[in-house]
């Protein structure tokens, strides 16, 4: 579950303080599929960074998977991040590791047993349709394939929450639709899915809950199509 209560975020910019978010409030319950939409610069990436505790809000209250983000200790951050999977527009794969090792990476970090890794990683690769690419290096893959590797890595820990920041930003429309279908499938299995995007067609096609952000403020929160 994600709770944002009156969250504001100010950056210290060149021309004084810059307001990135202003009084943002919403709740995403377990098992939901939610789009957070807005033009670039609206505050989507700031919301992502706050959710994964890469940045700390200036004021308000954020609760993610039971962690109170403004009050938690620094050493608890790894445990928060293990409770979620994160996918980025630029995939963030390690080019010198094979597809298998890239996915296994998220498990090794938690000290998972080798035997478990050997079983779990092929299962994940199969789920995203890359079972035959386990020993390939990321630069040899297409954008869509790389994004699916990133997705496999995000899900390998069996997180209850998946956050995707512009996951289809680098994909063509056909691959984007495929990716959405995959995310929907994952959501059906019980994982909460939160997607930051500005792609109108995709949002309209999915007909899910949409939280629309403009200039750091929530302007609409309802099910259906793209708002702005």
């Amino acid at each position: 579950m994600i709770e944002f209560k009156d969250v504001s975020m100010r950056y210290n910019g060149k021309h004084g303080k810059k307001r990135a978010l202003d009084g943002v409030t919403f709740t995403i319950n377990d098992g939901e599929f939610v789009f957070i939409t807005g033009e670039s610069g609206a505050g989507k990436t700031t919301i992502t960074k706050l959710m994964i505790h890469e940045e700390t809000a200036s004021s308000g209250e954020i609760i993610v998977n039971g962690f109170n983000l403004l009050k938690m200790k620094k050493r608890e951050i790894p445990y928060l991040r293990r409770s979620m999977g994160i996918v980025f527009q630029d995939y963030k794969l390690i080019p010198t590791l094979t597809v298998f090792e890239n996915v296994a990476f998220a498990l090794r970090v938690t000290g998972a047993p080798v035997k478990f890794i050997r079983n779990r990683v092929p299962y994940m690769l199969d789920l995203v349709g890359l079972a035959d690419k386990a020993n390939v290096y990321p630069p040899e893959l297409s954008g869509g394939e790389q994004q699916r590797v990133a997705l496999a890595r995000a899900l390998v820990n069996n997180p209850s929450l998946l956050i995707a920041d512009e996951p289809t930003g680098n994909l063509d429309p056909r691959l984007s639709t495929e990716m959405m279908y995959l995310l929907d499938k994952i959501n059906e299995k019980g994982t909460t899915v939160v997607i930051m995007t500005h792609e109108k067609a995709l949002v309209n096609a999915m007909q899910k809950r949409v939280i629309a952000i403009k200039d750091g403020v929530v302007i609409s929160d309802k099910s259906g199509g793209y708002v702005i």
């Binding site: 991040r81 293990r82 963030k92 390690i94 090794r108 000290g111």
Partner: protein
Amino acid sequence: MSKEEKKVTKYSWGRSMLSTKFNKPMAIVSVSVLIICLILLGTFVLVSMNISSYLDRLGEANVVRVYPPYTATQSEVYDLKTTLESFENVASVRYVPKEEGAAEFREAYNEYGEIMDGFEENPLPDKFVLTLTDLTKASETVEKLQQVEGVEQVTWSADATRTIITIKRVLEIAGGAIVAILAVISAFIISNTIRASMQSRRLEIGIMRLVGAKNSFIRKPFIIEGLVIGVIGSAIAYGIEYLIYIYGMQKLIGSIEILKPIPFSEIALPLAGAFILVGVLTGVLGSIISVRKHLKV
């Protein structure tokens, strides 16, 4: 160590070896600098150890002679020996009766030893020959010995002792300074290598954080890398130092007749200990400095 930590440590080793492979040129530079520093250090230590050992063997320096009065009886001499043996800062006590003293004199002065024949009766007194534990406290000990009951006279070569103490002290201070300077240089070079290694793996570090790696997990490979550089450097340096000592210094020192070089077997262990200690400390310290400074986790 918890189960998670054990698994993670095993993985860290693998990743750090990998990175040493990737940053080969920098790692080689680090190891080389460490080797040069250790060899300079080792050579200095070996030379000063040989000088020290020579000074100790000079003998004259670390000898204090205590003379009981002529009139002392057998039991008084015996009592004095017991007192001296339990005296502070006294390492050994040897009783030299006058007959033995005469024999020593004859031996020490060869043909001049015949001087002794000119005497009807042995002119030498009985004496105790003492060696001290701590030469630097020699003058205090001598002063105290002079106040002991049943002691007629105490003699010692104050100048020689002072000179030796000074030389040893200079060697110690110079040695300490050299160790410090070389360790700082090595640590600096190693920390640069680790920084380069971290910069080449910035993406990986970022991903580690995103997937929930603990700080210790992120730091470990770099610390291990420093450790590996330290261990490899000190092992190679030790081998080279061995060759230098056996084929260079030992022959050189041995060619001067009065100097007897210390056999390598006697210094092998302390030297190995010192090399590993300095190597590992600078390696680990170098990487900790870098990790602390550049890895804001």
